[in-house]
C-alpha cells in the first residue's frame, strides 16, 4: 500500500484506441500524482471523452495499459475500478432522477460501505447512511435541497450533486469531465475554489474547457489534439508553448465562441 501512495495515482502507458480509421487515443502516456490536479485540455473531438472512458472502464483500449494506484486495471470493470478508489463526474449529469438529492448521495455512501447487499433493513431510515450523506451535501452546499427530487434541481445544483456523489466514495483519484460546463461565471468561481480545497484529499484529472478554471487549478496541463498529447507541462510552460498556441489556444482566442 505504501508503494501505491508514493507512486502515481494514475498511469497510462501507450494507450491506443481506434474507431475504424479514427485514432481516438494514439499512444497516450499520462500520469496523475498524489495531491496533484492534472488538467487535460484540447479542442472538441480530440479524444478526451474516449480517454476518460478508457480510464473509468467503459471502453477497453486496443493496446496499452491503465494503472490505478500501482495496479494494472486494464481489463477491470467500471464497478471494480470504482471500488479501488476511482471517483468520477459525468460531462452530462448522470443522476438517479426519481430519487431525492439525499438518497442519491446515500446510495453512494452505501456503495462504498456495503455495496448492494442488505436485504432487510429499510434504507431510508438508515441513520449511518443519512448522517454521512448529509455531511457530504453540507460540504458542497446542498443541505437545503436534501429532500427535493433531483428533477427539481437547477443545472448548477446537479453539477454539485455529481461532485457530492463522487466525494461520498472517498476517492483517491477523481475524474472530472467538464465539471464547469454550463455553470456561469459565479458558479465556476465557486466550484473552482471548492476543487482547490479538495487537493489534499484526492488527486484529480480535470477535463475542462474553461481556461481560467484550468489555469487557476492545474499543477500540470496536458494538451490533446487528434488523439495525441502534443504537450505536457506546468501552467507557465503550456502558456508559453508556441505549438500549443497554434494548435489550440490560438484557435480559441480567435474563435472564443467554443
Amino acid at each position: 500500500m505504501t508503494d501505491s501512495l508514493l507512486g502515481p495515482l494514475l498511469e497510462l502507458q501507450g494507450l491506443r484506441k481506434a474507431f475504424g480509421a479514427l485514432k481516438a487515443s494514439d499512444d497516450i502516456d499520462l500520469t496523475v500524482l498524489p495531491g496533484e490536479i492534472h488538467a487535460l485540455i484540447g479542442p472538441n473531438g480530440a479524444g478526451k471523452s474516449t480517454l476518460i472512458a478508457e480510464i473509468a472502464g467503459g471502453l477497453t483500449p486496443d493496446a496499452g495499459q491503465v494503472r490505478l494506484f500501482g495496479q494494472d486495471v486494464t481489463g477491470w470493470s467500471v464497478a471494480a475500478r470504482a471500488r479501488l478508489g476511482l471517483g468520477r463526474t459525468f460531462q452530462v449529469s448522470s443522476l438517479v432522477m426519481e430519487f431525492s438529492v439525499l438518497r442519491n448521495v446515500m446510495l453512494a455512501v452505501q456503495a462504498r460501505s456495503s455495496g448492494a447487499f442488505g436485504f432487510w433493513a429499510p434504507v431510508r431510515r438508515d441513520a449511518r447512511l443519512r448522517t454521512e450523506a448529509l455531511g457530504v451535501l453540507d460540504r458542497v452546499g446542498l443541505t437545503r435541497r436534501a429532500g427535493d427530487p433531483v428533477s427539481a434541481l437547477s443545472h448548477g445544483e446537479r453539477r454539485l450533486l455529481e461532485v457530492a456523489m463522487a466525494l461520498a466514495l472517498r476517492p483517491k483519484l477523481l475524474l472530472l469531465d467538464e465539471p464547469m460546463a454550463g455553470l456561469g461565471p459565479a458558479g465556476t468561481r465557486e466550484l473552482t475554489a471548492f476543487l482547490a480545497g479538495l487537493k489534499t484529499e484526492t488527486g484529480m484529472l480535470l477535463v475542462e474547457h474553461d481556461m481560467d478554471a484550468v489555469f487557476a487549478l492545474a499543477d500540470r496541463i496536458s494538451v490533446m489534439v487528434y488523439g495525441r498529447i502534443i504537450a505536457s507541462g506546468s501552467v507557465a510552460e503550456i502558456r508559453a508553448s508556441a505549438e500549443v498556441r497554434e494548435a489550440y489556444l490560438g484557435d480559441l482566442h480567435e474563435a472564443p465562441s467554443c
Partner: protein, 329 residues
C-alpha cells in the same frame, strides 16, 4: 399527510376485500367463489413475483410462465409418484414422490432458483427487446420439453388426484386452501416490501434507472439484477405449484407464452412497480374473466379495452388511479 396515507389505505382495502369475499361466499354457501378467490390470490402471487423483476428492476421478462409451469410440474410430478408409489429418480439417489406441501414448495423454490439463475445469467447480458425475446425463447424451450415428456402426460398434462397436505391444515377444504394461498401472498408482499426498501432495493432501482451511475459508484449492476430476477422467479414458481394444486391439474399450457403475457397483464393493470399492483391486476382480470366471460365469450375484447385505457390514461394502473402517483423520496 392524507396523500401519503392513500396508497396504504387502498392496499389495505384491497387485501381485506380479498379475504372477506371467500368468507362471505362460504357463509352464503357459494363454494364456487372460494375457488375464484384462491385463483386471484395465486395469480396475484405470480404477479408479485414478476413485479419484482419488471417493476423494481426494469426487466421485462416475457418468460415467467416457465417458472409458473415448473412450479406446477413439481406439484404434479410429486403427486404422481406419491400416488403410484414409484420413484422419480432411482439412481444414484432414490427420490420418490411426496404428499407434503412443504416439500413441494421447497423443491419448487429450489428448481425455480436454479433455472432462473441459468436463464438470467444469459438473458441479462442483453437489454430491451432482446431481453424480452430471449426470456420468451427460454420459456418456449421448457414448454416444448414438457410436451415431449410422455411420462408426465406430454401434451395432455398431468392430473393431481390428491392435493398434498400440510400439518394442522385440511388442504382439501377450499376455504383452508384459500387461506394458505392468502397467507403466502401476504408473506410475499411483506418480503418484497422489505426487499425493495432495503439497500439492495436502492441498488436495484438505480440499476433500472441508471445502470452506468450504479457501476460508477462501485456496484456492478449484473449481479444485483440477477439476484432480483432469481427471487422474482422463485415467487412466481411457488404460485405455479399452488395453481396446479388448486386445479388438480398441470399441463404445458401453464408454461405457454400466453400465460407469460397474462402475468405481465396483471402487473400492468395493477400498476408497474406498485407493491400491491398485481393484487389489483389479478383481481380485475379474474373478475372480467368470470363475470363478463360468463356473459360473452368475447370478454377478452373488454380486457383489451381496459388494458388500453390503463396504458393510455392511467400509467400507474389501478393502484395509480386510486392512490395517485408513486412517491419517491
Amino acid at each position: 399527510m392524507a396523500e401519503r396515507m392513500r396508497e396504504p389505505l387502498v392496499n389495505a382495502v384491497l387485501v381485506l376485500a380479498l379475504l372477506i369475499a371467500p368468507l362471505t361466499a362460504v357463509a352464503l354457501d357459494e363454494p364456487f367463489y372460494v375457488g375464484l378467490a384462491s385463483r386471484v390470490a395465486i395469480l396475484a402471487l405470480a404477479g408479485v413475483g414478476l413485479n419484482l423483476a419488471l417493476g423494481s428492476g426494469g426487466m421485462v421478462s416475457f418468460g415467467h410462465a416457465a417458472f409458473f409451469g415448473l412450479g406446477g410440474y413439481v406439484a404434479g410430478i410429486a403427486a404422481l409418484h406419491a400416488f403410484e408409489g414409484s420413484a422419480f429418480l432411482a439412481w444414484p439417489l432414490e427420490i420418490g414422490g411426496s404428499e407434503s406441501m412443504i416439500v413441494v414448495w421447497v423443491v419448487t423454490l429450489a428448481v425455480s432458483a436454479v433455472v432462473a439463475l441459468a436463464i438470467g445469467a444469459v438473458s441479462l447480458r442483453t437489454a430491451g427487446v432482446y431481453f424480452i425475446m430471449i426470456t420468451l425463447a427460454f420459456a418456449q424451450m421448457i414448454y416444448y420439453f414438457a410436451i415431449s415428456l410422455p411420462t408426465y402426460g406430454g401434451e395432455d398434462g398431468l392430473s393431481i388426484y390428491l392435493r398434498s397436505s400440510l400439518p394442522f391444515v385440511d388442504t382439501g377444504d377450499p376455504l383452508s386452501f384459500f387461506l394458505v394461498c392468502y397467507a403466502l401472498l401476504l408473506s410475499a408482499l411483506f418480503l418484497t416490501h422489505r426487499l425493495v426498501n432495503s439497500r439492495f432495493g436502492a441498488a436495484l432501482q438505480c440499476a433500472r434507472m441508471n445502470p452506468e451511475r450504479l457501476a460508477t459508484l462501485g456496484i456492478a449492476p449484473f449481479p444485483v439484477k440477477l439476484t432480483a430476477f432469481t427471487l422474482s422467479a422463485m415467487i412466481t414458481g411457488l404460485a405455479g405449484a399452488l395453481f396446479a394444486e388448486l386445479n388438480g391439474f398441470v399441463s404445458p399450457a401453464m408454461l405457454s407464452w400466453q400465460r407469460s403475457g397474462e402475468i405481465i397483464v396483471f402487473v400492468i393493470l395493477g400498476g408497474v412497480g406498485r407493491l400491491f399492483g398485481p393484487v389489483a391486476g389479478a383481481a380485475l382480470f379474474i373478475l372480467l374473466e368470470s363475470f363478463i366471460g360468463g356473459w360473452t365469450d368475447r370478454w377478452q375484447l373488454v380486457l383489451g379495452l381496459v388494458l388500453l385505457s390503463v396504458v393510455l390514461f392511467a400509467r400507474g394502473g389501478v393502484i395509480g388511479l386510486l392512490a395517485g402517483r408513486a412517491r419517491h423520496d
